[in-house]
């Protein structure tokens, strides 16, 4: 028996309260029909006896106490899934907005998903070659990983994300099974359009599923957008055996939507007004990355978040960093120097890289080389802070060497063009070449065997040509 409930008891922000409701279940979906015939969607978020609280996705504008009829749908929020969702564009709650009609569902799945059994997980080991030196060498992306980009407003994170999508290559060449799920949360229209155009130009649009919740779309939909996107990703990965790269931008907008929703529910706020369950909530998204036994597919996540005021201790980047397996941090100072991609090497990290690189994956010298580069570049920062006090002239000879190394490292290793796709060998050799500008005795993180093999003593080979493209020069060296 389907019952309509006429009118509402209370309206508060995006929430409405109904009374005398029977047979309602937690998280159930509802349709709310207004007098003018438009239908809004909602979800039960709290039940107290016969009084229920409903979250209205499209907002409560023009709802009054008695102009609505509410109908319970008797099932939780579900997403229609089929292999044909590839190439389609949906709004934040999974309704098609590209004018191609509804998806004929092969399967319907609860967007909240269920937690993966840790026993069923396959520990991710295969690296994804991104063609970007800093990422491949120092914070290698692994299939099944969640590696966020910490950025700030106005920085080139979108370009970097597009370059990652375009160049990402899986080592064992199963490229045909590659898919992309793109979730936009509260991004500007232009940004969404930039992504769409870039995917089109690089010829991957037919492999992309887009979920768009733009900056002026309702915030309640925004809280569901990543869930829809990840449900689609899980379906493609674990049932269609595809390698799915999920790009979610911007997680800060998502968290702010959650905060808005939480405060309208009257919940006790935690740090900076964000709800106390922000960690669990973010985890329920990020933890949906991974690989499972018995399926060839994988879900790899690259969430993008803009740090308000470039503050890495803000709750959103902070909690994200605790859940994700590393982070790629962009730096405004590097960006200011005209370097692209402005990856700040020292705070960036990939936790899964240690098991996905080295012999059999990339090259045996990868890990020691990466350690040495980190250590040397950390030393550069010490030298720089000293130089800012006593002046570069007064530095000891070894500190001067480090200053020089730092400059070259940023110019040739960090910096590369938007279209440049470096192989892993190129990046590693470039790393050795840079380290060779330092005295051999300074390299205490690598053993002698590797130094004998890779340390370049011939000063002719150590010239860095400022005009020539580095990769061409690199070819000559090899």
């Amino acid at each position: 028996m389907i019952l309509d409930y006429v009118g509402v008891k209370e309206i508060n922000g995006s929430l409405i309260v109904l009374d005398d409701v029977d047979n309602v279940s937690n998280e159930e979906m509802v349709d709310i029909r207004l007098e003018d015939g438009t239908v809004r969607h909602g979800r039960i978020v709290q039940i107290e006896g016969k009084r229920v609280v409903v979250q209205v996705f499209e907002g409560t504008k023009s709802i009054s106490l008695d102009n609505t009829r509410t109908r319970l749908k008797a099932h939780p929020m579900e997403l229609a899934l089929a292999p044909e969702i590839m190439g389609r564009v949906f709004n934040g709650v999974g309704t098609p907005i590209d004018g191609l009609g509804d998806v004929y569902p092969v399967k319907k799945a609860d967007v909240n998903g269920t937690p993966m059994n840790p026993v069923s997980r396959v520990y991710p080991r295969n690296y994804i070659n991104t063609g970007i030196s800093t990422i491949d060498t120092l914070m290698t992306l692994i299939r099944g990983q969640k590696l966020p980009i910490f950025s700030g407003s106005g920085m080139k994170h979108n370009e970097l994300a597009v370059q990652l999508v375009r160049q990402a290559k899986i080592s064992d060449g199963e490229d045909n099974q590659f898919g992309i799920v793109f979730a936009a949360m509260g991004v500007k229209n232009d940004v969404a359009d930039y992504f769409r155009r870039s995917f089109d130009e690089s010829g991957v649009l037919s492999r992309v599923v887009m979920f768009l919740n733009l900056a002026n779309d309702p915030i309640i939909e925004r809280t569901l957008t990543p869930r829809c996107a990840l449900t689609a990703a899980e379906y493609l990965a674990f049932e269609c055996n595809m390698h799915v790269l999920v790009i979610m931008t911007d997680m800060t907008s998502y968290a702010e939507a959650l905060r808005e929703f939480s405060s309208s529910k009257g919940e006790i706020p935690g740090r900076k007004g964000f709800p106390g369950y922000l960690y669990s909530d973010l985890a329920s998204l990020y933890e949906r990355a991974g690989m499972i036994k018995g399926s060839k597919g994988s879900v790899t996540q690259i969430p993008i978040l803009t740090m308000p005021n470039d503050d890495i201790t803000h709750p959103v980047p902070d909690l994200t960093g605790y859940i994700t397996e590393g982070q790629i941090v962009l730096d405004r100072q590097l960006e200011g120097q005209g370097l692209y991609p402005p990856v700040s090497v020292l705070p960036s990290l990939s936790r899964l890289m240690k098991d996905g690189i080295g012999e059999g994956y990339t090259r045996a010298d990868h890990q020691p080389l990466a350690n040495q580069l980190f250590a040397a570049y950390a030393r550069v920062q010490d030298a720089r802070s000293l130089a800012s006090v006593i002046g570069e002239e007064e530095l000891s000879p070894i500190d001067k060497k480090y200053m020089e190394f730092g400059k070259l490292f940023e110019q040739y290793f960090v910096n590369q063009s938007y279209s440049e796709n470096r192989s892993i060998e190129q990046s590693l050799d470039l790393g050795w070449k840079l380290l060779s500008t330092l005295p051999r005795t300074e390299l205490d993180r690598v053993d002698d065997e590797l130094l004998d093999k890779y340390y370049i003593t011939d000063t002719e080979q150590l010239k860095f040509n400022t005009i020539e493209n580095t990769s061409q020069e690199q070819d000559k060296d090899v």
């Binding site: 709290q46 059994n117 006790i268 201790t313 902070d318 240690k354 250590a375």
Partner: protein
Amino acid sequence: MATKDVIYGINGPVVTVKNTRTFSMMEMVYVGDSRLVGEIIGINDKLTTIQVYEETTGLKPGDPVYGTGTPMNVLLGPGILDNIFDGIERPLKAIEEQSGSFISRGASVSSLDLEKYWNVKIKVKVGDKLTGGMIYASCKETAIIEHRFMVPPALSGTVIKAEPSGKYRLMDTVVTIEDDKGTRHELKLCQKWPIKTARPCANRLPATVPLITGQRVIDTMFPISKGGTAAIPGGFGTGKTMTQHQLAKWCDADIIVYVGCGERGNEMSQVLDEFSELIDPKSGRPMTDRTVLIANTSNMPVAAREASIYTGLTLAEYYRDMGYHVAIMADSTSRWAEALREISGRLEEMPAEEGFPAYLPSRLSQFYERAGRVDTLSGSEGSVTIIGAVSPQGSDFSEPVTQNTKRFTRCFWALDKSLAYARHYPAINWMDSYSEYFTDLDPWFRENLGEDFIKYRNMITAILHEESNLMEIVKLIGSDVLPDEQKLVIETAKAVRVGFLQQNAFHKDDTFVPLEKQKLMMKAILHLYAKAKHIIAAAIPISGILELGLFERLAKMKYDIPNDKPEMFDDLITDIDTALAALTK
């Protein structure tokens, strides 16, 4: 006694029942038709509040709630080791068989395998008097661990029936005892214990035996005792989990309980992978033979996260009572505290600092106080060592969880972001960290490693402190202006940092270093320091000493000298002497 009541309200993981008097505080209940596990956390005359350990999607008012009459408890018996459980002791492997790769709700599986036959040796005969905690039988649980069956602490009596040794299942009665009042109790191969109650012991012992971890910065600089407590605070990416993994792999406890509390799923699968491949050096058996994993990943229900810490502790105490040394790794206690905050928020309790409930300090102290080295009820010695990771928000150590943890733990291994950025691992900051166990443990070190060990440690600490003072000056005016004597301190401190404190977890020798080698490494560094100081006093410039490459050799001695060849340190010291002698000629 099972009773029936119905759901009134639902808010996230919190469910309420109206007008009932049947439940007691902390009682375990089943909620709804799919029997989700929950616990009673609040009662007043109108409403009874339940926290549900699983997702509450789809629950309806009017759904039944079943009481169990007992508090939240775990089943203790053979089969715990080499297993992986969720936060309320449900075996994840069995759940996988039942519901596939994703965990469905209301999965009802027995904690331990009830059908498996264990080869049990009965150790009592009719007429024996047994008291609580005494051992009445044993079996081989894994190749290296003998499981000892103990009389539940509250029971005692005379054996009136004992089965012969042989193969039995978990629920089979093997011994029957009769107490003073004439009541008979059947002793099976398992018992239940409420997770929030500490298991009793005969008496507590002082913290005089160190837990040896093979990690230099811990064993030498900030040692922990068996039965001690330690906190590892650090922002993300500073290597908390890595440090915990290293400790779990190498510390000399008999049994490891690893609680992944609100952490990453991939990390748990890494632990599973690594521990089953890793061979325990003492027994030659896979690490998993002596390990229990409790995995409540961050996307699993938040209420079960709160329980997972207690579940882990109860299992640890159970093995302690058998006479084992148990180390429990809790990664991370902050997630547990946040789970408390989340539940507290749902209950609309008045928050204290940063939204955490006011009872946070008392919960933390109750947790850490369950550690200790004890005489067990059966007369043997056992210990539970708690090592808890703390993930401070915004890497700020002044936040409530870190501060309160500091009050209740005696070791504080502060992880440092700048060390981690320079890939100096373990990134334990030697200036911020401390251990209160020095005085308790010094007699042990003196006895087993000689007077020198403590002397060396104090000298190394002094050098590091002096360096830290000098660095203040260097930051302002550069190192060139320092006198040679102070430059030597800086060089020596660098050798200590790179050669001694920094340890490579991926190097076959360096991942675990015996105490003897730790001592000899300190000796080599201090030997060079003393000699060089002498030479500098004779007005020979330090640049001459640096050119000899001796400091570089010290930095690489951890790789160059294998763990089983301590005699090579004599050669190193001779080399140092010859090289320096050539300089003074």
